[in-house]
């Protein structure tokens, strides 16, 4: 690990003015400290934001939206009874990620900014355009099981690993940030960037900007009765997604009035396709319909290596997630969150 200056500002203003190029915010540290150990990240200054006042609450705003402070721990959010009842697939996605210990430490802000799990990115001796622009991409022609099948470029084929980000994208969440030039809001759809020619620019955050909150709009609550997150992984628990899908439906009189779904682990951002969602509206829920919509969402998919199987897996995952959502949000969080195991056979 490189040597760094550690500071723990007591106020937001102090934090923002402490920032300098090469500095990193420290939340729970579960991603930053890990990557500093491998050498993939080497900030000269670590600014601990975990004690900034006023950023650790979950509040309902007068306009009906829900505001989650950036420092709320992942476990605190997922187990908040009101939050989990209103946004069940967000809670399920969080509980399907990492472990109890990690979720206790991880902040929601840090979760959104966590870096890719591309093994070459984590290894500072491998060429990697995302870590060291212009050095090449070791994953192309290498091991690609957790790499993208959509939205990738010839510079970088990495995926975003966050489970939490997937339902947030589906529900049109908004990220509130503060920075040197004041406060602003970023729609989840615009928060994570596709790699294009600049894979090093992972998010819409400008240098020195800090996430202060994440907001779910009032309308997101309308999906609470039919919302699921489904995550396919190499073991039942404590593994990143190979493909995942957050699916939510608003069903009125047996007809889908509105549908939202986003795919995870297939691209550098949660993958949402408006046309695919539109195919579901005004239709009765059904397996054939779900499979056509999933197919549409992955229309532009192409393998980035030896991972063509992932396109099929993602399509089936989305189809199944939509069917689970149509069957209804379970009364209680499943024992194995976001898993197909333990689901009734007919689901």
């Amino acid at each position: 690990m490189n040597l760094f200056d550690y500071i723990r500002p007591a106020s937001l203003d102090e934090a923002l003015s402490a920032w300098e190029p090469g500095a990193a915010w420290l939340g729970g540290g579960t991603n930053l400290v890990d990557l500093m150990k491998t050498g993939a990240m080497a900030p000269g200054k670590v600014i601990d934001v975990t004690r900034l006042p006023g950023l650790d609450g979950i509040e309902s705003l007068p306009d009906g939206s829900t505001r989650i402070g950036a420092l709320v721990r992942n476990s605190t959010l997922a187990h908040d009874p009101d939050f989990a009842a209103d946004f069940p697939m967000v809670a399920e996605a969080i509980l399907s990620g990492a472990s109890g210990q990690l979720r206790n430490a991880a902040t929601v802000g840090g979760n959104l900014v966590q870096r890719t799990r591309c093994a070459y990115f984590q290894d500072p001796w491998s060429p990697c355009n995302r870590r060291d622009p212009g050095t090449g991409c070791a994953a192309i022609g290498g091991e690609t099981h957790n790499h993208a099948v959509i939205g990738w470029s010839d510079r970088c084929i990495a995926t975003n690993p966050s489970d939490f980000a997937v339902p947030l994208a589906a529900l049109d969440a908004v990220v509130e940030v503060a920075g040197p030039s004041g406060q602003r809001e970023i729609a989840m759809a615009a928060f994570h960037h596709l790699p294009g020619d600049t894979p090093e620019t992972e998010t819409a955050l400008a240098p020195g900007e800090l996430i202060v909150a994440i907001r779910l709009p009032a309308g997101a609550r309308a999906f609470r009765a039919n919302s699921r997150y489904l995550k396919v992984r190499e073991r039942t628990s404590f593994a990143f997604a190979l493909a995942s899908c957050a699916a939510s439906l608003r069903i009125e009189d047996g007809t889908i009035a509105e549908a939202r779904f986003a795919l995870g682990a297939v691209a550098a951002k949660p993958w949402r396709v408006a046309e695919a969602e539109a195919m579901l509206t005004a239709q009765p829920p059904g397996a054939a319909l779900f499979s056509q919509a999933a197919e549409r969402a992955l229309q532009d998919a192409a393998p980035s290596g030896e991972n063509a199987w992932k396109i099929d897996l993602a399509r089936r995952t989305a189809t199944r997630a939509l069917a689970l959502a149509a069957a209804g949000t379970p009364a209680r969080m499943p024992a194995l969150p976001a898993s197909t195991f333990g689901e009734p056979a007919h689901a």
Binding site: F4, K37, S99, L336
Partner: protein, 171 residues
């Protein structure tokens, strides 16, 4: 730049001067506080061997920078027993053979203590297995571990009920 921090470890107030901010809580405990019960497996959050409680929440000591812990209360495996009386989770691990080589055991036990106090798993074996999935066991003593956590959960719930009854009786 050195950093002076004060924290409580297993109930004892400790003042530490860190001349290097890179020290993790895991290394602080093992190398500087003579508390080697907390184990280093992966050092990257992947195995759970380093699980401790910070302010009564289970976390991985290997990913926690010690410098962040000014004012925190840390509990390690060494702080669980009361004199010669084992904590119910420790006793249950012995009763149910919740280990083979024992390397993962301190982390398993601390994680179980955290899980039980979180209160979401209850006495459902499937929820316990899921809740303990951040603790790997190379010897695969998982069957005994699950039985031990289940039994400890029940014993601690019974003890709570009994002490509530005592309180009511004495009130």
């Amino acid at each position: 730049m050195s950093h002076a921090i004060s924290l409580t470890v297993n109930g004892e107030a400790r003042a530490v001067t860190l001349d290097d901010p890179r020290v993790t809580l895991l290394d602080l405990l093992r190398e500087r506080m003579a508390l080697p019960g907390t184990k280093k497996g992966c050092d990257r959050g992947q195995c759970g061997a380093c699980t401790v409680l910070i302010d009564n929440r289970r976390v991985n000591a290997c990913l926690t920078l010690a410098v962040t812990l000014d004012g925190a209360e840390v509990t390690t495996i060494e702080g669980l027993a009361t004199g010669d009386t084992l904590h119910p989770v420790q006793a249950a691990f012995i009763d149910h053979d919740g280990f083979q080589c024992g390397y993962c055991t301190p982390g398993q036990i601390m994680s179980a203590v955290g899980l039980i106090s979180e209160g979401h798993a209850g006495d459902d074996p499937e929820r316990i297995r899921e809740g303990m999935s951040g603790n790997l066991c190379r010897c695969a003593a998982y069957h005994g571990i699950t039985e031990a956590v289940l039994d400890a959960t029940r014993r601690m719930a019974d003890a709570d009920t009994a002490s509530d009854a005592d309180e009511r009786a004495s009130a």
